[in-house]
């Protein structure tokens, strides 16, 4: 049983349907106590709906969700007293100061008196908002509001913290601080953190495990190395190689090597596709032929790559081919870069 309680958030066959649209499809998720879990997926994948169901704010069409043993739909009050929720675009009463906003949240949680004041001071200190605490929240920047939002969530001393798109619209410096705070919530306080996001780079730095969510279904779930392994088991390896001297001779030599499926030249860089991990043979081979390796990178290690691969797989299941998906993705990236 003790082992069972390790999973603080559990959903079984959780489903939500809006009219004919399936927002969340048969979700089975277990989140361990004290871990940082990233729920990743594009906009409209059903992340927010899932979170609302976990908080008992939306009724599931089918299935159940429990947090710390409480049914989220039947006992939302108990769930809400252990779960802190930081919505995307968190809002405060603009004509109240940060401190007053926190005090109000404390009172809603049945706190008061000196205990509450001390707690507010400690939390403001913790998120670095002590100086701005007595200013009206209407004057706060997005990053400040986000930090006050974290203090606000912590007032009730939750065991689980759910953050919906916490990194949206935060500058890099604020992002670093935010991620540090999130890390601390898990490591120092032992709280469970569930982050939903579509921004991969930030999230992969703090998450213990991630779940990838596409069109209402969880298509992959696990630690980063696990996901990586999952991809590589049924996929191919993609190796970036940069050698000196860079001549065409090497291209032909490499192409004739066993195990290499294909090779492409992008600028000075070779992209080598293979069935197995060919890094040992390749370096040996290049060394024997007097080539210097300038750059060698196995694609697939970072979340972006994993994310891309899973999206491609999801796309393939729908019947579109890989190259099309890749092209689409490339365009999207370009558009994002311009924007």
């Amino acid at each position: 049983m003790a082992e069972k309680m390790e999973h603080i958030i559990q959903t079984s066959h959780l489903t939500k349907r809006y009219g004919s649209k399936l927002a969340v499809n048969d979700l089975n998720l277990s989140i361990r106590r004290g871990e940082v879990f990233g729920l990743l997926g594009p906009n409209g994948a059903g992340k927010t709906t899932t979170i609302l169901m976990l908080l008992g704010l939306t009724e599931p069409t089918a299935g159940t969700a429990t947090i710390d043993g409480c049914d989220c739909t039947r006992n939302p009050l108990e769930v809400k007293s252990v779960v802190g929720y930081l919505p995307d675009n968190v809002g405060f009463y603009t004509d109240m100061t940060g401190r007053q906003n926190l005090r109000f949240t404390g009172r809603l949680n049945g706190m008061g008196g000196r205990e509450l004041e001390e707690r507010i001071d400690a939390l403001l200190e913790r998120v670095g908002m002590t100086e701005a605490a007595d200013r009206r929240t209407g004057t706060y920047s997005k990053g400040m509001r986000q930090r006050l939002g974290i203090a606000d969530v912590l007032i009730k001393d939750p065991e689980v913290i759910i953050m919906d798109e916490p990194t949206l619209g935060i500058d890099p410096e604020g992002m670093r601080e935010l991620l540090n705070i999130i890390r601390d919530l898990s490591v120092k306080d032992g709280r469970t953190v569930l982050i939903s996001s579509h921004q991969l780079q930030q999230i992969q730095q703090v998450c213990d495990r991630v779940g990838i969510y596409v069109e209402g279904s969880l298509i992959a779930c696990g630690t980063l190395p696990e996901l990586e392994k999952q991809i590589q088991k049924n996929g191919t390896y993609l190796l970036e190689v940069d050698v000196e001297p860079c001549d065409d001779q090497i291209l032909g030599m490499l192409a004739s090597q066993p195990g290499i499926l294909g090779i492409q030249k992008e600028g000075r860089r070779f992209m080598i596709t293979s069935k197995t991990d060919i890094r040992p043979q390749l370096t040996k081979f290049l060394g024997e032929h007097d080539y210097t390796v300038m750059h060698l990178h196995q694609r697939g290690g970072d979340l972006d790559e994993i994310y891309r691969r899973y999206f491609e797989k999801a796309g393939q299941n729908d019947g579109s081919n890989e190259s099309e998906a890749r092209r689409k993705f490339g365009r999207k990236r370009k558009a994002a870069g311009n924007g």
Partner: protein, 366 residues
């Protein structure tokens, strides 16, 4: 998996819906936490703060009240109502001599019911302008919170969801009561100081009943504007909608009522008028009574004017043998009891609508 979950629920000794299931706090602000050790009830120390529904609601009502009382909107309303009250008092005092000449009983009530030098009385001012207090306090109650994202934060706290809307309504009604009673009593006090009139007990009671009626009447408008704030996404839309309802009832309802009454019971020639005028008038009046404005005006003019003996048409037959005199307070109340019930019912219907609308609505803002 389900079986295991059930075991787990049973094993931890939790009863759904009881306070016992309230989890442990991790203690003081330092809160180091023992990972994984908190699986059983033994490991969870009894928690200090038990969440009750009323805790959250009280906090909400307090916050809403403080918000209202500190807001500029409240100040503007207070100035508006204050100015009209004093204008009407001025009118009443200047017209008092004529009114006393006509009827020299219940003089103190005349401070509220008479106007003079083309200034309407306090009573008719409140009937017309009172709704604006309710509308101003409620038109953005829910949709502004939704737009600013505070509603999201509010519903994720351990409070019952209806506490939010009930809290808003209660706080608004409290503000209305404060304004109305302050103004009503201040008016009487100033009137007393200026004219030297001293109210009798019955007059005081009649004034108090009048003020209670007024609070219920304005609370109806508050409930209506909260309903619009639940239904409309933008506060501008809800403000416009509630103002148009107000104007319709205050100005156009009587026109509509007479048009319908004339269509059903035409009185355009003498012959028809002979048969239809009673029915025409009754229908007209009943249609008008749908309007809370009319209902309220009729009720308070009965309460504040003991000479009003009936709110309906009285035939000559019924008047035979009647002795001209004042109605006692009890009799006046009896006359307007249906009005009070009707107003309260309208208020509850409007509030019930906003309550149901709010409870059924999705929380997400987009």
């Amino acid at each position: 998996m389900n079986q295991k979950q059930e075991e787990n629920l049973a094993g931890s000794g939790r009863l759904p819906g009881t306070d016992e299931a309230y989890p442990a706090a991790k203690g003081a602000p330092g809160y180091p936490v023992s990972k994984g050790a908190s699986g059983t009830d033994e490991a969870r120390p009894a928690h200090g703060r038990h969440i009750k529904g009323s805790t959250g609601r009280n906090a909400l009502v307090r916050k809403e009240l403080a918000d209202h009382l500190r807001s500029k909107r409240f100040l503007i309303l207070l100035v508006l109502i204050g100015a009209t009250s004093f204008a009407s008092l001025y009118g009443a005092i200047s017209g008092l001599a004529d009114a006393i000449a006509a009827d020299s009983n219940f003089i103190f009530l005349k401070l509220y019911t008479t106007g003079g030098s083309s200034i309407p009385s306090f009573m008719s001012f409140i009937a017309l302008l009172g709704p604006i207090i309710g509308l101003a306090l409620g038109f953005d109650a829910v949709n502004s919170e939704r737009a600013s994202g505070t509603l999201n934060r509010l519903v994720s706290q351990p409070i019952y969801r209806d506490s939010i809307i009930v809290g808003k309504f209660l706080a608004g009604t409290a503000v209305i009561a404060i304004v109305i009673f302050t103004m009503g009593i201040a008016l009487g006090a100033i009137g007393m100081a200026v004219t030297g009139l001293v109210p009798e007990t019955e007059e005081v009671l009649r004034i108090l009943i009048f003020l209670i009626f007024t609070v219920v009447y304005i609370a109806f408008w508050l409930a209506l504007s909260i309903l619009f704030s639940v239904v409309c996404r933008h506060s501008a839309t809800s403000a416009l909608a509630s103002i148009s309802v107000w104007i319709f009832f205050a100005i156009f309802m009587s026109l509509v009522a007479s048009i319908i009454a004339n269509a059903v019971y035409p009185v355009n020639d003498q012959y028809r008028a002979m048969f239809n005028s009673l029915n025409n008038y009754t229908l007209n009046q009943n249609l008008n009574r749908i309007s809370p404005y009319y209902l309220y005006s009729e009720a308070i003019s009965t309460i504040m004017n003991p000479t009003v003996r009936s709110v309906n048409v009285v035939t000559m037959d019924q008047l035979v043998g009647a002795i001209s005199g004042y109605l006692s307070l009890g009799q006046s109340l009896l006359l307007v009891w249906p009005h009070l019930t009707g107003l309260a019912a309208l208020m509850l219907v409007a509030f019930g609508g906003s309550y149901i609308g709010f409870m059924r609505q999705e929380v997400r803002s987009n």
